[in-house]
Subunit: 158 residues, 2 copies
């Protein structure tokens, strides 16, 4: 951990408080850094924008990718004020930064009623036992589209 | 499964193919239905918009919430052409629809090189053993912001 790491994390924490104080959403902030410079920032905007995906990390990732003109965050470092929820964890893996620093963890989040653990637990359940029921339907109709992708020549992989 | 369920899933599969054919992104489509009517649709747009979060389900959820003016998809049903990845799974749980239908599953997706299972496996690993390293930093600086949220009076919970 360097002084720069502390600086960037304190910025993420500042954004968490700023977003909360302005009623943008919950108390979460995120900074994305490349070559020791801030590329993009984000704070939670779920309730103010009616977007349940507008968590700090997703907002920051979308901003950073737009700025970098890439769907991959090569060589970037993410500083987030709280351990990512499963949605943000997935977004981070699809974006492929090289590292993630986080401050509070999911137990801290659960204590203020952001219960990510519930979603982690649901992930491990069978489809029919989940709180939101998942049902298979028409796989035979969808498979040909997957096969068409496999055979497609002019495609951008990700 | 009703004829309407089949109709909506076929529409999601159609969107998957349409998005792929137009080079918007991967072969994934999604439809969100409320009161037996389509509220919003989405297809994967990752590579065309440089947004790694622009999976079919996330695009459709954002569109549906914007249209409904809510960050919750009460009484909505999601039809997606493929079992959601961890990111989309998290987005679905935050949006709280009543049910999810999916066609292809994550094994089908892995066969065409969309390896969600890798992310599922990473979720279960210790921070230091993950492919993307996760490191704790400055929790003591971030906790006061969480405490401020707990005590905040004029907040919109979600």
């Amino acid at each position: 951990m360097t002084n720069r790491d502390e600086f960037f994390m304190k910025r993420a924490i500042h954004l968490a408080e700023k977003g909360m104080d302005s009623n943008a959403g919950g108390p979460f902030g995120c900074v994305i850094v490349k070559d020791d410079e801030i590329v993009a920032e984000g704070f939670n905007q779920v309730t103010s924008t009616n977007d349940p995906t507008a968590h700090a990390e997703v907002v920051a990732i979308r901003n950073a990718c737009r700025k970098l003109g890439s769907f991959q965050l090569d060589d970037c470092v993410i500083y987030t004020s709280c351990e990512p929820c499963p949605m943000c964890f997935g977004a981070i893996y699809w974006a492929r930064p090289k590292m993630v620093y986080f401050a509070c963890d999911k137990k801290d989040a659960a204590k203020i009623n952001f219960d990510d653990q519930f979603i982690y637990d649901e992930l491990d359940k069978e489809f029919e036992n989940r709180d939101i029921t998942f049902v298979r339907l028409l796989r035979k109709d969808a498979l040909p589209v997957f096969n068409k992708w496999a055979e497609k020549e002019n495609k951008t992989k990700y």
